[in-house]
């Protein structure tokens, strides 16, 4: 019975990993570009939620939307002011750009919110559901379910809608897309907005269940890499599947071998993946 509990816990956490990783894989798929500050976007999403709850007293729906929207705007701004120019630059400046951004966002958050761990005051979502002996804490449950729905939504948006096809067109062949009257800069800015927005919502959902501080962005960033690498670069459904798997592996390895080893096993898996199957489970080579 305990094992089932561990598995459920792992999947719920994995769903949240999937949500914010889907944002990262979207960018990678489109622009062959890794955003090293993606973890910081999740962290900012958490703080936005805190501000909304503290100042406006909004409920989960309110701060969820606020986090998504504010991060969307940040994502677009980051693209237009920095990434657009760096894309054509040498590899070193592409990597440095988002690294510098990560440091800037993290330590500005340190400055504004101080280093203390904070957590959302008890929101309406609390308590635990007991489904056949398996205990599912409501915050994690809600967060996990919404995360899965949003990831699928993002995937459908990409594959079924006009905007989605334009986004994919630009990622396939930027030149050809331009010939078809698609403005690549606008599409890529939109992609960065969506990616940051997904990270923002994931931050809001995690804020319900877990305390955080400005330095959590770093661990989320690395986890997102692993999920994206396992799921296949550029594949949102891949990220969803990989997110769940990573959540599961972390939970099981922590339970069987002890919590210290969960990160070691995940990173070892990541390194092995990069060598054996760089395109991941469902990504394009």
């Amino acid at each position: 019975m305990l094992l089932l509990q561990v598995i459920v816990g792992g999947l719920l956490l994995g769903a949240i990993y999937a949500l914010f990783s889907s944002g990262l894989t979207l960018i990678w798929g489109m622009m062959n570009f890794i955003n090293f500050a993606h973890g910081e976007f999740v962290m900012l999403g958490m703080y936005v939620s805190l501000l909304v709850v503290m100042w406006l007293g909004g409920g989960p729906a309110a701060f969820g939307f606020a986090a998504a929207f504010s991060l969307f705007v940040l994502g677009v701004f980051v693209y237009l002011s920095l990434i657009r120019y760096v894309l054509r630059g040498p590899m070193l400046s592409q990597i440095l750009s988002t690294f510098g951004l990560a440091l800037l966002l993290r330590y500005t958050a340190f400055w504004i919110f101080s280093a203390n761990f904070v957590s959302l005051p008890q929101t309406s979502l609390s308590g635990t559901l007991n489904v056949g002996g398996v205990l599912m804490p409501v915050p994690q449950l809600v967060a996990g379910v919404i995360a899965i729905l949003l990831t699928i939504g993002l995937h459908l948006m990409l594959t079924r809608t006009k905007v989605g096809s334009q986004l994919l067109a630009v990622s396939e062949d930027r030149g050809a897309a331009m010939l078809m009257g698609i403005r690549p800069d606008r599409m890529q800015a939109l992609a960065w907005g969506l990616s940051a927005g997904a990270a923002g919502i994931a931050g809001a959902l995690m804020a319900i269940a877990y305390p955080w501080s400005p330095s959590v962005g770093e661990t989320f960033g690395l986890t997102a890499f692993v999920v994206v690498a396992l799921g296949g670069f550029g594949s949102v459904p891949g990220a969803l599947l990989a997110g769940l798997i990573i959540g599961l592996i972390q939970a099981l390895s922590a339970f069987w071998f002890g919590p210290i080893y969960k990160d070691i096993i995940v990173y070892a898996l990541f390194v092995a993946l990069l060598w054996l199957r760089p395109q991941g489970l469902m990504g394009k080579a």
């Binding site: 070193l92 690294f99 440091l103 080893y261 060598w275």
Partner: protein
């Protein structure tokens, strides 16, 4: 003996030689030593990251191994810490080959991510490994049992030892630049496919560059732990250790001989200054500054200060130096 031509190299060397005589206060010396250490590790990174264009963001793996070896020899066998330096270098070379072969099949972002993951993997593992003091880390000899413990009261001896190592590294890089190896490195950075078509054994050259870089990064790590007398997973393998090397080289000019030196010359005093002025206030401004500098480099001047200087330096002067 012939008077050395007054070129920037000799001027720079003279400046660095007499620095400890002008700024003799122990605190200034400590900054001088920190500057040299940063310049050595950034220059070592530069061989792989700058010249060859393989942006490793996990070079702390070699720095950490180099740092752990001396203190491990002291803790386990009571040897003088410097006896551990060769071991650090050997471990780093083995790691370089083990890591290099698979990761060099990857390019660009893949390669950077793989190096981050490997460095993190080692950092976390060392944090759980009791032989190396797990999370508590290792300490060196508190008081010197003899000169060989290299635990000096003043920083002066460290300064000149580190300066000598930096000089050797820069001289070696200078020679490489003019040899086939240096040309092949720059060819790989400019275009691997074209380089292969001209017979450049790309994988082999990359591994050799990584080994050379690992040797000096490991040496920098050893010098750090011998001087500080302490090492733990975070200060040995932490991601900030790797990031600092990348920033310093990129600020000065990655792929340029004096790039890392100039980068360290600016960043280390700046970092200490901000920490003195704002550090006491505890606002962590130093890192906001770091982040800001990197974003500006990436956005406006990827070539670093060198390229900026070459663009704005008077035309005639630059002609003479373009060889």
């Amino acid at each position: 003996m012939k008077i050395p031509a007054v070129t920037p190299t000799t001027l720079l060397a003279a400046g660095l030689l007499i620095y400890p005589l002008i700024f003799s206060g122990p605190f200034y010396l400590d900054i001088g030593v920190t500057f040299l250490l940063a310049a050595i590790s950034a220059s070592a990174w530069n061989i792989v990251g700058g010249y060859t264009g393989q942006v490793s963001v996990g070079h702390a793996m070699f720095f950490g191994l180099g740092a752990y070896a001396p203190l491990l020899c002291y803790t386990l066998f009571q040897w003088a810490p410097i006896a551990g330096i060769p071991f650090g270098i050997v471990f780093s070379i083995v790691l370089a080959v083990l890591i290099g072969i698979p990761t060099f099949r990857l390019t660009g972002h893949y390669f950077s991510m793989a190096t981050i993951a490997v460095a993190e993997l080692i950092r976390i593992y060392f944090g759980t490994w009791d032989l190396v003091g797990a999370a508590i880390g290792l300490q060196g000899p508190a008081t010197a049992r003899g000169w060989w413990d290299l635990t000096f009261r003043s920083e002066l001896p460290y300064y000149y030892i580190f300066l000598a190592v930096l000089a050797v590294l820069l001289r070696l890089t200078f020679l490489i630049e003019r040899r086939r190896f240096g040309y092949y490195l720059r060819a790989i950075k400019a275009g691997e496919r074209a380089a292969r078509s001209l017979g450049v054994p790309v994988q082999q050259i990359k591994i050799k560059a990584l080994i050379l870089s690992a040797v000096f990064t490991s040496l920098a790590g050893s010098l750090y732990s011998v001087k500080t007398g302490f090492i733990d997973p975070e200060s040995g393998f932490g991601i900030l250790v790797s990031v600092q090397m990348v920033i310093i080289a990129a600020l000065g000019g990655a792929g340029k001989l004096y790039g890392p030196l100039v980068g360290a010359l600016i960043l280390i005093p700046l970092q200490t200054a901000t920490n003195t002025w704002f550090g006491g206030g505890g606002t962590g401004l130093t890192f906001i500054l770091y982040g800001g500098i990197i974003v500006l480099i990436a956005r406006y001047e990827p070539g670093g200060l060198f390229e900026l200087w070459e663009r704005i330096a008077p035309r005639g002067w630059r002609r003479k130096n373009a060889s």
